[in-house]
Symmetry: C2
Subunit: 412 residues, 2 copies
């Protein structure tokens, strides 16, 4: 289509080292981009700066680097990865994780497990217990058709429900027990209660006991590597002792899953751990960047921020500020607020539902005009991804693929 505005110029939203100032821009809607991909791949050379906004973008170099770094570190430490797909909800990324060497993936919801299994991911560990008849029915259906589906349980009553449903369906289902790491959120108490539940699962006719999981969510964002390391090893000790009890009881202990992005290089020190349920490492976010790493006390730089939101300035007529098109419905209101990529001396808040607010401080690296694009490092990756139906995969700022966030909104 002949666009009378195509000669209008966009200024770059300066990413460090990724300068792109097209002299002519068409602009592509999400629908157009999907069509371009479905009908024979993206033959056009489209820059991310030409995308309609707000747009969710993942940088492929950074993403691939994160996958490799996780895999290499865990391999060196003699432990596997079983990444949590609740972070990305994207079968394309799950496939990359499996190809990079992960032993499978995790999901939080049965709806996510359905999507991942239907998209060809063969080994899925659902880390939450299914407690209602409808959820158990859905889980049984997955176990019937996908032998690589493993589910969790955390009470004897639930284990009996699962076994009863499996027997009625004429199948045997793989089950791990979920053990509480001290947060009292989910999971059974470690020690004797966990052992007895494991033994019950092992004897119930419809179930096959395959191990345990213990996710120490409370330690992932502890500030400072040494404090984080000490806390998680302490908190996981009861789970490790439980796992040792299971081993001594002769139970099948092929899985002892837990850990995450904040403790990935510590988790192998917990005796018995088989794999790390790392999620955020693929994308990173402002929350994780702030916790500090082993080699850098201020910035957690083990993984690169690969996920950004592209937004457009829609008002710049008031002193010291600009308004963008990415508010809470595009960024969430998680803190710390999103970081303006490649800039200094400015803050971004997404507290308003529809609009973001940029404010300039003394010595801001630049100011923006209406129509300019701004690129944001996300505050907290999981809930941000859950707002978008698609993810633009870019390399050197050129769009390579449009990925479906196929499990978006699958909170049931």
């Amino acid at each position: 289509m002949n666009n009378p505005l195509s000669r209008r110029h966009f200024l770059k939203a300066a990413g460090a080292g990724s300068v792109f100032i097209p002299s002519s821009v068409k602009g592509y809607t999400g629908k157009e981009m999907r069509r371009l991909v479905i009908e024979g791949g993206i033959e056009a050379d489209i820059s991310k700066w030409e995308l309609d906004t707000p747009a969710l973008i993942v940088d492929l170099d950074a993403l691939e680097g994160n996958l490799a770094n996780m895999q290499n570190t865990l391999a060196r430490n003699g432990i596997a990865s079983r990444p949590h797909a609740k972070t990305h909800k994207c079968p394309a990324i799950a496939r990359m994780q499996v190809e990079a060497g992960s032993v499978g993936i995790c999901t939080a919801k049965v709806g996510e497990a359905e999507v991942m299994l239907e998209h060809g991911i063969e080994r899925v560990l659902m880390t939450t217990t299914n407690v209602t008849p409808v959820k158990i029915e859905r889980a049984m259906s997955l176990s019937r058709w996908y032998p690589g589906f493993v589910q969790a349980t955390d009470t004897p009553a639930n284990a009996r429900d699962l076994s009863e449903a499996a027997e009625a369906a004429g199948i045997s289902v793989d089950v791990v027990i979920d053990v509480d790491s001290g947060g009292h959120r989910t999971g059974i108490t470690p020690g004797r209660p966990a052992l007895e539940l494991s033994q019950l699962v092992d004897t119930l006719p419809g179930l096959r006991f395959v191990g345990m999981l213990c996710y120490d969510g409370g330690s992932q964002h502890v500030q400072g590597f040494e404090a984080r390391r000490a806390q998680t090893l302490e908190r996981l000790r009861p789970a490790a002792e439980t796992f040792s009890m299971l081993q001594r009881s002769g139970l099948n202990t092929e899985i002892f899953s837990g850990g995450g992005t904040g403790t990935y290089n510590v988790d192998h020190e917990t005796p018995g751990f088989t794999d790390v349920q790392c999620g955020s490492y693929v994308f990173m976010d402002a929350q994780y960047l702030g916790i500090g790493g082993e080699n850098d006390p201020t910035v957690y730089s083990d993984f690169a921020p690969s996920l950004t939101i592209l937004t457009t300035v829609i008002n710049s007529q008031y002193e010291g500020r600009a308004t963008t098109d990415a508010g809470a419905k595009a960024c969430t209101i998680n803190r710390p607020w999103p970081i303006v990529k490649g800039e200094s001396g400015m803050t971004y808040t997404s507290g308003s539902d529809e609009f973001g607010t940029l404010r300039y401080e003394e010595g801001a690296s630049r100011s923006y005009r209406v129509g300019d694009k701004v690129e944001l490092i996300v505050s907290h990756c999981d809930p941000v991804v859950n707002l978008y139906d698609q993810l633009y995969a870019v390399r050197n700022d050129r769009v390579q693929a449009v990925w479906s966030v196929a499990a978006r909104g699958r909170s049931t």
Copy 2:
């Protein structure tokens, strides 16, 4: 399907006066519910307590009461309603608003306008300025096919862009100017700048000037009716003076739109106001309930909370608390936290991505067991609705319809 667990009982998540304890529950997934509706309506008598969770629910009696109350109050005050569809993103509700007497609806995004117009809503005022070539192209396409589409502008440069695009498309488009209410977020400065922009729009060949809008977002949640009334009347005075200038200049002043749920019974006092862009009144939420009303200083009871999230307890084995399946991805992390409907002495937090946490205080009205349903009044309705693809419309706790949240995620 013969479900071996169907004899399991659900306890009610006591809504005040809405007790339902089925002795046998099948449980229905979202997919099943959509199929039941598409294939000939819901002939089965399905209770909301049988829905798979998390589920977003709207009570039809409360919703209809809110629509009627808004319409009656505004009619008494001699002012129209032009409800903001960014709140519900649901064509079915927009249709109810138009049928109740609204002069049209508002949208914040061109993507929402596309959905509403395509679903038969004839008069749509888009309250945000379209600044990029791709957004302007989309807006022109709407103006071409839907004569009831009105868009906003807030700079002379943008007005010229719109006119140029309209001329290139061979059409004339309806435009209002957006005037800043003092928040400096969007809109042009009232007074002379606004007058000159209006005159420019009026003379540009591709545009038809139809009035102005001024949304005083900063006043909607001011605590206490009198303080709220005084603030919004003060803040809207420059806009009212601007509107008077437009009238004296002989411009077309058919639209002077603004106001909202917090000021709906004050907005008619601003001279010239033609209609109220009320959004949240259809659903209400914990944020609005807390601001107090004209007759009740503590609770804003002018409208009834019609929107709730149904969630299920998945862990109840730890003292003083329970864990549910509705966390940040089902509730957002807006404050105040969701309110447990019909209960007292308990708090709910959705700070965790996947799980909600119920905590009991001294004298809690009850405690929950695994599998029990809990009903929550939402924290802030707009971003919550944006997480769900469908909305269950219920009356007397029985599901009457499954509505598509067709504009969910349409943030572009």
